[in-house]
């Protein structure tokens, strides 16, 4: 009897260990596998618009804008460099729990002709699905030797070297940011793509690979069988004539099958207002500005005619509200990070309860009450509640959270460190370290460390303000005010 109990206990411990391993080791790529977790968590039949395709789709179709402005429920169920065959399986799987009225499919992956994607992208575009016939078929279509990919443990077991804190908490450790994720993700950088643009002159046709062509036809059939209005898109990016010739060929298929196709590289170039100098984050993807423009255009010219109801205010759609709030938050953070006007900066800091602000100052400085920049900095400090009224600088450190000063110190003791937990994944510290990193130096400076890394520039006679956002769980900006040089700017640690 004892042996049986020991065996049962052993098996239970083994099962518990394997479960824990699954939850921590399993892949959680935000650009693919995690997307499925968020999709499966949706209430059934709540998605009206389904975005399909590659990163071109999920960085263009802005689900938060569709909800916030138009009350339309959308989800970008896409994957990085997702082959069209995988898009078919994604679509088929999605139809198990959702009945979208419209499916927006970007055709960029028709330009990818590899018979099989590289293994990393293959895993990204299959592993998020729940085990099912669809998943096995997707794996069979994705890998040359598919059997070893049926069991995800064979692939993720060796991640012990890559595990991060995010792997051990649900929602990648940030519930506010990722629990209500709707698949849209974009970058806020800007890249000038003015050398690319209108490809209307490109009228040739590039043959499609058989695999891609068949996958597209399968998607068209699947959409028709399920009464989904399929709309094909050629979303803007830094395209070449090869891409446009592929799209031209796709256009023939679209017309032959009665499916609308909006080619923004040629036919609809210029109509969306996309500016190739400012609306792209990189050659392949729109940025936040570009995604808003294209999404607005798509609603005004495509979705508006699809009788999509507005679900704003309805019960059961609160997750879209929260997703939109995250987008607003990201936009605000972007504004802060690009704000070069110090008094505006102060205004943005003062009223936000989700910001944690870490401030350090180094060295004694003079006072120049007639300097506008300095006045602006005093406004900042006052807004944070740490202006001392005397307007004389000295060494010091402050932590302000939600408008309340949680910590302040003169920070004169060499080697002192005040740690502060920002979230379950990140921590900060105010530290007094040797200037230049020389332990024997007699000059010390105060600095801010985020996860052990110095995020200030190391200047003396300088005030640093580091802003952390608890919603997006990231440091969004560090600015400096050099009170001897009287300069203000954003710290780019690479340059510093």
């Amino acid at each position: 009897m004892k042996k049986i109990i020991a065996l049962i206990l052993t098996l239970l411990v083994f099962a518990a260990g394997m479960t824990a391993m699954y939850f921590s080791y399993d892949f959680k790529y935000l650009d693919s596998t995690y997307r499925w977790k968020a999709f499966y968590a949706l209430p059934d039949n709540t998605v009206d618009v389904l975005g399909l395709g590659t990163s071109h789709t999920y960085e263009s179709i802005n689900t938060a804008v569709l909800w916030d402005k138009y009350g339309v429920t959308a989800f970008d169920l896409c994957g990085t460099a997702q082959p069209m065959t995988n898009t078919y399986w994604f679509f088929k799987e999605a139809l198990k729990t959702q009945s979208p009225k419209v499916a927006l499919l970007d055709l960029y992956s028709m330009c990818l002709n590899d018979e099989f994607p590289d293994e990393g992208n293959g895993i990204k575009n299959t592993y998020g699905m729940r085990m099912s016939r669809n998943k096995l078929d997707a794996i069979n279509a994705t890998f040359e030797s598919p059997r070893q990919y049926y069991y995800s443990i064979l692939q993720y077991h060796s991640r012990y070297g890559d595990l991060t804190a995010e792997d051990f908490f649900p929602y990648l450790g940030n519930e506010r940011m990722y629990k209500d994720y709707k698949g849209f993700y974009c970058h806020f950088e800007t890249k000038d793509l003015s050398e690319y643009g209108n490809l209307s002159d490109c009228t040739g046709f590039e043959p499609l690979s058989e695999k891609n062509k068949q996958a597209l036809l399968d998607i068209i059939v699947l959409a028709k069988q399920n009464n989904v209005n399929l709309v094909l898109l050629g979303l803007p990016f830094g395209a070449t004539s090869f891409n446009e010739e592929i799209y031209n060929t796709c256009g023939l298929i679209a017309r032959a099958n009665g499916v609308p196709f909006y080619d923004f590289l040629s036919d609809y170039y210029g109509e969306t207002g996309i500016d190739y100098t400012s609306d792209f984050a990189d050659r392949q993807h729109l940025n936040d500005l570009g995604s808003e423009k294209i999404t607005d255009w798509i609603y005004d010219n495509i979705l508006i005619g699809c009788d999509l109801p507005s679900h704003r205010g309805e019960s059961g759609y609160e997750t879209w509200d929260r997703d939109a709030e995250v987008w607003e938050r990201q936009q605000k953070n972007q504004k802060l990070a690009s704000c070069d006007e110090i008094s505006s900066y102060a205004g943005m800091l003062s009223v936000d309860s989700d910001y944690t602000v870490l401030v350090t100052s180094n060295g004694i400085g003079g006072v120049n009450v007639e300097n506008a920049l300095e006045e602006g900095m005093f406004d900042c400090l006052d807004a944070l509640g740490i202006g001392d009224g005397r307007r004389i600088y000295g060494d010091g450190g402050w932590i302000v959270r939600g408008g309340e000063v949680e910590y302040q110190s003169s920070m004169r003791d060499a080697g002192m460190v005040k740690t502060y937990e920002l979230s379950r994944l990140h921590d900060a510290a105010l530290a007094r370290v040797a200037a230049g990193g020389d332990k024997d130096a007699e000059i010390f400076r105060n600095t801010v460390l985020i996860d052990g890394e110095d995020v200030t520039g190391g200047r003396m006679h300088t005030l640093y303000i580091t802003v952390y956002d608890s919603v997006t769980d990231e440091v969004i900006d560090t600015v400096y005010f050099d009170y001897r040089q009287l300069t203000f700017g954003h710290v780019d640690t690479a340059e510093e």
Binding site: A6, V13, M21, E119, I153, S158
Partner: protein, 500 residues
């Protein structure tokens, strides 16, 4: 299907489930079907080859067995003829599939050396896995019958199972009829479900998987890197590559054997232990009593002793030792490197025998305490170095490469490599190297315990407190699952001895 494949992890429990449930009388038939399925999973055509070997040795042994009953041995010639037919048939198949191209290449090389064009043809056959193992097992049985050491098995299906028993089919242990066949005859008496037996069997399997999947396949990364880039590596890297190859081949082969022994043990069969802490051997002769034991005893009983053994004077004894080792080398592979490897071991043993008495006199003269632990450690270290040196020929693609590899060890010595970080450039990052070193350390500890207590891994766990064994097994299981070299990040390493 390899033991470290998903296919086997599904196959084995399925076989067990049916094995535990079906009537005792038909269990051996079920095992025979499972064994043929196991072998055919490599290539269905292989079934024909093993069936041929089975049929010919079965029939010849049956005939020999019937003629054995004559007390006057009047049919000695016929008996011998049957033996020869059985031997020739099996060895011919082995030669065609394994050695034909090697022989052709060698003949053509000699012709070329004399300025003639190559004339020997080549064949395009894939070497069937395990052919050397089951051929020797079948031949051993037939010779035992001829010698009258064992009666001929009349049941063809039971005999077929003896030849094809899947746990030991493709890489040993090479079983003797006195052990395995006699157990197969009594399979009905085996209690199907015995908790302790099953747990012990799984323990041994788990340890085997640890050796193979965690240690051997990880060591292979360094070994492959060193042996693929030897011409621009320094002495220390080459030495480490050789040492890790010693680890790799031991863990690969002994790991497989452990899985085989454990799997058979779960079903109630006791296979011969094939390895007994070989790297703790205090001489090369001792090494061969601990390494691939079933092969060395096979060669002893069926080659060395029939050649005369040590009964015909010293010169003949040494000749017999050399011939046996050369054949043993050739058995391992169709390449002159294996023959040289075998020959080196032969020379070691001959030299060891010649110098035994002088060494003993020397030890007495200088008052060396040969019973001291430090002395035994020294002897083991020297033996390991000798064995490891020979492994270079086993692993190298050619004799010339092996010789240049060894020469480079002595001509490119740079002690600063120990501290200048170049050791990190052996094809494996620091974390993986640490995992490997810790695993090897664990292996050494377990081997030391096995040697000291003279007990196998499963028996070591048996006498501990009730909680100890499950905890150890759980730890090993999770180490295998997490740190095993399988999946996307690693190339699966087929068991080395499969090519034999």
């Amino acid at each position: 299907m390899q033991f470290n494949s998903l296919h086997f992890l599904i196959f084995f429990p399925a076989v067990l489930l049916v094995y535990f449930v079906i009537p005792a009388k038909v269990r051996y038939i079920w095992l025979l079907l499972a064994s043929y399925y196991f072998y055919m999973s490599w290539n269905p055509v292989y079934a024909l080859l093993i069936a041929f070997s089975t049929v010919i040795t079965y029939l010849c042994s049956l005939g020999i067995g019937m003629l054995n009953t004559d007390p006057r041995d009047r049919n000695r010639r016929l008996r011998r003829a049957m033996l020869i037919i059985g031997l020739a048939g099996n060895l011919l198949v082995l030669f065609v599939f394994k050695y034909f191209n090697f022989a052709s290449d060698s003949v053509n090389a000699v012709l070329k050396g004399f300025g003639y064009s190559p004339i020997a043809p080549k064949v395009d056959f894939v070497l069937p896995v395990g052919i050397s193992f089951y051929t020797f097992q079948a031949l051993g049985y037939m010779i035992d019958v001829y010698r009258g050491d064992t009666p001929a098995e009349k049941n063809p299906l039971r005999y077929a199972l003896f030849v094809s028993f899947f746990p030991q089919l493709v890489a040993g242990p090479i079983e003797r009829s006195g052990n395995l066949l006699s157990q197969l005859k009594n399979v009905e008496k085996i209690k199907p479900f015995d908790y302790e037996r099953i747990i012990k069997g799984f323990s041994v399997m788990l340890w085997g998987y640890f050796m193979k999947v965690v240690v051997a396949d990880r060591a292979a990364v360094i070994v492959n890197h060193v042996f693929d880039n030897w011409w621009h590596l320094d002495s220390l890297a080459l030495v480490l590559g050789t040492v890790f190859f010693a680890v790799q081949i031991y863990c690969d082969f002994a790991g497989y054997s452990a899985v085989a022994v454990g799997a058979a043990g779960v079903m109630g069969f006791t296979l011969t232990d094939n390895f007994k802490t070989p790297y703790f051997a205090v001489s090369v002769r001792d090494f061969w009593r601990r390494w691939h034991i079933t092969l060395s005893t096979w060669f002893r009983d069926y080659v060395y002793i029939p050649l005369g053994g040590n009964r015909r004077g010293k010169a003949r004894k040494y000749l017999n030792m050399m011939l046996t080792q050369l054949l043993s080398g050739l058995w391992h592979g169709a390449n002159w490197t294996y023959v040289v490897w075998g020959g080196i071991h032969g020379l070691y043993q001959v030299a060891g025998d010649i110098t035994r008495r002088p060494k003993e006199r020397l030890y007495r003269r200088f008052g060396v305490n040969t019973g001291a632990k430090s002395f035994r450690v020294l002897k083991a270290a020297v033996t390991f170095c000798l064995v490891d040196l020979a492994w270079i020929f086993f692993r190298a693609p050619s004799i010339s490469v092996a010789c240049m590899y060894i020469a480079r060890i002595f001509t490119h010595i740079d002690p600063w490599n120990l501290t200048n970080g170049s050791l990190a450039d052996l094809g494996m990052d620091g974390r993986e190297l640490n995992i490997l070193l810790i695993s090897v350390a664990a292996l050494i500890v377990v081997d030391l315990l096995q040697k000291k207590k003279n007990r196998r891994f499963d028996s070591l766990l048996e006498n501990q407190n009730m909680w100890f064994r499950p905890v150890v097994l759980l730890v090993i299981a999770f180490v295998i699952i997490i740190f095993g070299a399988y999946g996307l990040s690693f190339d699966p390493q087929q068991f080395i001895y499969f090519q034999f």
